[in-house]
Symmetry: C2
Subunit: 201 residues, 2 copies
């Protein structure tokens, strides 16, 4: 796994191996989506994919490692908007995350990982990586804005990130009422104040 | 189950029956806390409690009904503060909910129910009742404040409730960083604006 291993010697470049890996990840995702983490065992992945357990374990030494890789496929790639206008960037980001929350398989699998994380340290680590990409994108936009003076120096980036994402997440998993576009706009104004003169849309 | 049934004829008042019910609920809670919803079957409740499955089904016709009653035991009773000072009341409420999130068994069981709710309409209903008590308390304080003019008529109570609770919930289940007392105070000021002159502490 060393970075200096020449690509030609990497068994992962072998087409058959890549196909097996893809099949295993797909079956894992199907199981997670259909039944949650409780229904996802290496035995069941082997049975459905027709790939031997020994092969699965060769690629992923633990169930947690397999879950992490499968869920990474689901995590949408977050393009971090950087127009230089704080309100515009945050609104674009929240709108994109809100749409993902409604449509992505990731959002129906996450509570399962969250549940397991309550009782399993390995899965707690998986889980923390899973929700990291959204948080990181919001955090970057806020930190950049603070650096260029669009947010006060005293602004608490952790708290604002929790406020912005927490409100969206609450609508998806707690109240089960998705936020409308106008509520997202209101939320941004509540959390960040009105846009600065040179940032008004 | 009619309301006009005299209390003396209600089998639930029989001491032995009450003891059985309490034992079944306790075992259910233990299983939910230890293993999440996946580990909680009527078979296992019967095995651990030593109470026959037929008896369990007589009290709770479905697994969801049993889960709901067990979780209701966990839901902390929310005293809704009503000093007439919006910021004081909301801060007290959020501080109390934040403490419950750190300490209560309810908060470690909830993701399990949330997960199951993604795939099961019965459990989605259970789940919605489970998180209702917190939301209802916040909503009442905000609605009362709007009625007496401490919040603008245009304030979106749903959005503010999602913002206040979502931020706390994000710290418990997503970022896994509990909010400090000073962050709770900041959150209240961000979401509700600075306290009115006659509401300042």
């Amino acid at each position: 796994m060393s970075r200096s291993t020449p690509a030609t010697a990497d068994p992962r470049t072998d087409a058959r191996v890549l196909r097996s890996r893809a099949a295993i990840l797909q079956v894992t995702l199907d199981l997670l989506t259909e039944q949650g983490l409780g229904g996802m065992s290496i035995d069941e992945v082997a049975r459905r994919s027709g790939i031997a357990k020994t092969t699965i374990y060769r690629h992923w030494p633990t169930r947690s490692a397999l879950i992490l890789d499968a869920c990474a496929l689901l995590s949408a790639h977050m393009d971090v908007p950087a127009t230089g206008h704080l309100h515009e960037d945050i609104t674009a980001l929240l709108t994109s995350i809100a749409a993902q929350l409604q449509s992505s398989r990731w959002s129906s699998v996450l509570p399962s990982v969250m549940d397991a994380a309550e009782r399993d340290a390995d899965l707690a680590a998986v889980y923390s990586q899973l929700q990291h990409s959204h948080a990181q994108a919001v955090r970057m936009v806020l930190t950049d804005a603070r650096t260029r003076g669009a947010l006060p120096d005293a602004a608490d980036v952790d708290l604002l990130t929790a406020g912005l994402l927490g409100t969206l997440f609450y609508g998806r998993w707690f109240s089960r009422q998705a936020l409308s576009a106008s509520q997202i706009a209101q939320l941004v104004t509540i959390m960040l104040g009105p846009p600065a003169q040179d940032e008004q849309l």
